[in-house]
């Protein structure tokens, strides 16, 4: 069943009055519960596509469907509500709130949903155990390592049981071992909660965890298939 579908998405940016086309005619479909890798060289438009799929940016042209409902032309408030309820984000730089403890960071999306304190406690506790930070919940981000921060960020993204998780280079700031653990965690928990995960990465080794790979090149979607047979070279080029 289609969770998110795009049709002929196009996006340009203006740099010094020069138009730079970032995405051209991207057709994409994300199915509920799959773990999709988005790969391609730097500047190919991965982040732009993630932003559009995460509903934090709007395309110049083309259409975007959420459960077959077209989102083009929807108000900012509508998209905000949709993100609030159904989309989780894992950022490259974690983007945790520095003045909040790990607990409060994870509970933040639940607070936005107006969830009761007891329910919040249950969710945060179980997620913290799942990502292995249950002993660090009272610590603020500044006192956590990079890997621990990303685990908090994953727990935060999953807390509201989102239908879609957008992860932009979630392992870029992590060492090799931690990166593997974090992606494995993201995939397993995504599956456990039934969330679709769209993860952009440069790291070819991480693609083996993906159910499907989407490769962008100069703003065009050039490869959309299962990971079988995809080599590291293909991912990076």
């Amino acid at each position: 069943m289609s969770l998110l579908r795009t049709r002929q998405l196009t996006k340009s940016y203006h740099l010094d009055e020069v138009e730079q086309r970032v995405l051209t005619g991207v057709d994409l479909e994300l199915v509920a519960g799959e773990f999709v890798g988005l790969v391609g060289p730097s500047g190919c438009g991965k982040t732009t596509l993630l932003n559009l799929c995460g509903l934090i940016d709007r395309p110049d042209s083309g259409q975007l469907f959420w459960h077959d409902r077209e989102l083009t032309g929807q108000t900012q408030a509508y998209l905000t509500e949709l993100r609030r309820r159904t989309i989780g984000f894992v950022f490259q730089d974690f983007n945790l709130i520095p003045v909040m403890s790990a607990w409060d960071n994870i509970a933040y999306p639940l607070m936005l949903l107006g969830m009761s304190g007891t329910e919040q406690k249950e969710r945060v506790r179980s997620l913290a155990e799942a990502v292995g930070i249950d002993t660090l919940l009272d610590k603020r981000p500044a006192r956590l390592s990079g890997g621990q921060r990303q685990r908090v960020a994953i727990a935060r993204a999953l807390a509201k049981r989102p239908e879609l998780i957008i992860a932009d280079e979630p392992t870029a700031s992590l060492d090799e071992d931690t990166a593997l653990t974090v992606v494995e965690l993201l995939r397993d928990l995504g599956r456990q909660y039934g969330s679709t995960v769209l993860v952009a990465t440069h790291d070819a080794r991480l693609t083996r965890w993906c159910d499907r790979l989407i490769r962008l090149h100069h703003g065009h979607l050039v490869h959309n298939s299962t990971t079988e047979g995809v080599t590291a070279g293909e991912v990076l080029v």
Partner: protein, 404 residues
Amino acid sequence: MKWLLLAWSNLGRNRRRTLATLMLTAIGVTGIMATSGFALYTYESLQEFAMRDKGHVILTHPDFYSEQEDFPLQYGLEEAASLQRTLLGDEEVRDTLATVEFSGLITNGDKSTIFLGEGVEPELFQVRGPVMQLNDGRLFGVSEDNTDAQALIGQSLANNLKVGVGDGLTLMSTTVDGALNAIDVVVRGIVSTGVPEMDSRLVMTQIEDAQRLLNSDRVTRIGVYLSDNDDADDYYRQLVEAYPELGVTAWHERAFFYKSVRNLYNRIFGVMGVVILAMVGFAIFNTASMSVMERIREIGALAAMGTRRREILRLFLMEAGLIGGLGSLVGLALAGLLSLGLMVFEVQMPPPPGQTEGYPLQVYWSLQVAWISSALVIALSVLASGFATLKGVRKPIVEALNYA
């Protein structure tokens, strides 16, 4: 509550900056409280002085304040004693004082000069309280047998005529019939009003002596003194209805000095208040602007997670409100300490223009001003922060997330 806690936590991000803004806000509130408190003290003192000087309500002939007299007491009141007895029957009335105003020449035999006289009842000083300073001799007493005509004269007049307590003087004036009359008086006391011009002309006699000099049993006015200042307006309206044939004047209508000082202070301290508020506003705007710029990426992340713009804005407004509120509390406490300090350690103010006596500096701590100044400062903080935050909150999410 969670939002408030988050706002509170955010204040700790840059403690030094938060503390500096908070202290500036506190000083602003202290400034408003101190200037307003000083103005209130001055207003109350002058109001008290004006009420004690002529009474809460003044009864005169209806034309007394509007027409010029052709001869002394032309517009005086008849049968003042009977009217006073009637007024004393009202429960609000503490006392009444009849006064005869007159003028003429005063001489020591060798030298003459102009005087401005007041014929007063001996209760005057009990009823009025301390409105002038006794430099030598005695004031009029109620229970004394004042058989000789006596006078209290201003210090400068005494110096001018080279007389002291017990010396004799002659007062000359025109009677109501147009004849020249004179009475001899003995100097009973030498007083100072604090106003040099008054001290060089002032002569006070007992009312009977003034009436004898003017050859009339009329009085210029009757001052009605009430037990409670707060009754003044109501009692004034009551007398206006009860005595349509008389001139009934409220205390503030003749309190010209009080009114001009109040007008002047309202303008001066009003401008000061605006300047202080502007300073507080700019400080908060500056702090909020810096805070927003430092947290643009975070704003982007919050928005991406589905936080509504108004919720992000509210968070920053709460932070500003907390700074404004805490600053106000500290400011009110500082103003309280200042007020107490001035009560304990007396600071003397120099004499105002045209006066010879200074007065103790006091600053009232007014709950009403505290509420108003705190509310203004908090509202201003929130408003300034709102302006500063809007720009950050309106930034597109992608742009905010990539903000360096």
